[in-house]
């Protein structure tokens, strides 16, 4: 447990240092569609399909406003120890996570 939280702390620090905005690299439209699907359905299993919250908190823009993107990206990549939020690195790249977080902060288009 301790190791894991240290690790995520480290990750936050690293990410904070590494200016996350570089990560908004191009993502193929087909992959974007897959990510949207993942967001609604797989993230949605804990955060709600409409992202209004479930076991995990709401991920609507109002709720995320003011939170640093880098912290949110680190949460998605490395999870939060001691909570059900799982790490997605290995399944998602840093660029994909940055794209998802930017999308969450802006608001997800309603199409399924």
């Amino acid at each position: 447990m301790l190791q894991r939280s240290l690790l995520s702390l480290l990750a936050v620090v690293l990410l904070l240092g590494a200016a996350p905005s570089q990560a908004t690299a191009e993502i193929e439209p087909a992959r974007q569609r897959e990510l949207l699907h993942l967001l609604r359905h797989d993230c949605g299993s804990c955060h709600g399909m409409t992202l209004k919250g479930g076991l995990g908190p709401t991920l609507l823009p109002q709720a995320l406003a003011g939170k640093p993107a880098a912290t949110l990206e680190a949460t998605v990549l490395y999870g939060r120890a001691g909570t059900p939020m799982p790490p997605w690195h290995g399944l998602l790249t840093e660029e994909e996570v940055a794209w998802l977080v930017a999308l969450l902060m802006k608001g997800v288009p309603d199409a399924p």
Partner: protein, 390 residues
């Protein structure tokens, strides 16, 4: 000319009349949730067909269903806090209340007169009249100083009681609704961190909550509540770091035979086998991924297991005598739920990303057919009406 017109209208009258007076039962009916569209399908398992689609149920991600004791009405619990009553014969919505901002499921009382809903936001339980959907009781899940907990694992048991768990508080509450407007609540504290779902045994005796924050489960014997909550399968992970969990297991589908209980291990590619007499571990079965549902065929002879992302294209069948995996099926993309026909000769599987529900023979393990369904998730047959804890 006149005469044939008359005949025609007579005929259509008759036909119309017929359609509404044809008698049928409801014992082979069910609902399939179309989670992305806010609709449900009414299906019939004898001829494996869809009878109707009903729309307008709102956000149905994680939706679940209970049935009235006459199997005429379904109560659908939506994620967005809606409770919708569906007429299985009339093919229409006959009642609907937005009862909270965010809910997780519900249960129907032993006498069929009360429907209880578990809410995340605001955290608590609400109890409704099953006929009218009138609110009868509101039980906020208050703990600590002025905080409210998400409620999970709300299950019906005998004597018109319900049991549920407080995710944020680590408590189990048992609610006696003999007088529905004045619930009597018994609280069990310090049951372990982050209970995330629960089940009640078919006889209504044992309530078991899975704990996300602990390496074990919480057991309450509802026949001997004075003994309090007991930890079972303590340290089943043997101190090893669990894998990340991409989908929380569902415990309502936990399988109990007379001898054993079969539980999905959280964060592990294992199904745990527990001896029901002493609640000690009786073995484990290595499986293809992290189990989400481990469901026993109604006769208890097989266990069907589906898995979390990224293994959710697979279903495995376990023989409950040999505890061997006897089949590994790849029914489709994102198999979210499984439901047996009332006596278990068939199983229906929802393949969410293939927009299909597949039907398998549980003896031959052969694929029998499919129904087109948009993003199917839960499948619920009316036979649940007569099972405690479903």
């Amino acid at each position: 000319m006149h005469r044939s017109l008359l005949l025609l209208s007579l005929l259509s009258l008759l036909l119309g009349g017929c359609a509404t007076t044809t008698l049928r039962g409801t014992g082979d009916l069910g609902l399939i949730i179309e989670r992305a569209d806010g609709s449900v399908l009414i299906v019939e398992s004898t001829h494996q067909q869809t009878l109707a689609r009903i729309e307008g149920l709102g956000d149905l991600s994680h939706a679940s269903v209970v049935y009235s004791r006459d199997e005429r009405y379904a109560y659908v619990f939506g994620r967005d806090g809606a409770l919708t009553k569906v007429d299985m014969l009339g093919h229409k919505i006959v009642g609907r209340v937005m009862q909270s901002g965010n809910s997780i499921g519900g249960a129907i009382s032993q006498d069929g007169r009360l429907v209880a809903v578990a809410n995340y936001e605001p955290g608590g339980v609400k109890v409704f009249d099953a006929d009218t959907l009138e609110l009868l009781a509101d039980i906020p899940a208050a703990y600590g100083d002025g905080k409210f907990s998400k409620v999970v694992g709300l299950e019906d048991t005998t004597d018109n009681r319900f049991a549920f768990s407080l995710y944020d508080a680590g408590e189990i509450w048992v609610m006696d609704l003999r007088d529905a407007r004045n619930p009597v609540i018994e609280k069990f504290r310090n049951i372990g961190r982050q209970p995330y779902d629960a089940l009640v045994s078919m006889d209504g005796r044992h309530y078991i909550a899975g704990l996300f924050g602990e390496d074990g489960l919480a057991l309450l014997d509802l026949w001997r509540p004075e003994r309090g909550v007991q930890r079972i399968l303590d340290n089943y992970g043997r101190g090893e770091q669990p894998l990340p969990v991409y989908k929380m297991p569902h415990l309502e589908g936990w399988a109990l035979s007379e001898e054993h209980a079969y539980l999905p291990a959280i964060g592990r590619h294992e199904v745990l086998i527990v001896d029901r007499h002493n609640w000690k571990e009786a073995g484990r079965v290595a499986v293809h991924g992290q189990p989400v549902f481990a469901m026993a065929r109604p006769d208890g002879r097989q266990l069907w297991v589906n898995f979390a992302h990224p293994h959710n294209d697979t279903v495995q069948v376990i023989d409950t005598v040999t505890h061997q995996v006897i089949a590994t099926l790849k029914p489709g993309k994102a198999v979210l739920h499984m439901e047996f026909t009332p006596r278990g000769e068939h199983i229906w599987l929802s393949a969410r990303d293939d927009n299909r529900v597949d039907i398998y023979d549980t003896r031959t393990l052969q694929h029998l057919g499919s129904l087109p369904v948009r993003n199917p998730s839960g499948i619920f047959f009316t036979a649940r009406a007569h099972r405690i804890g479903l």
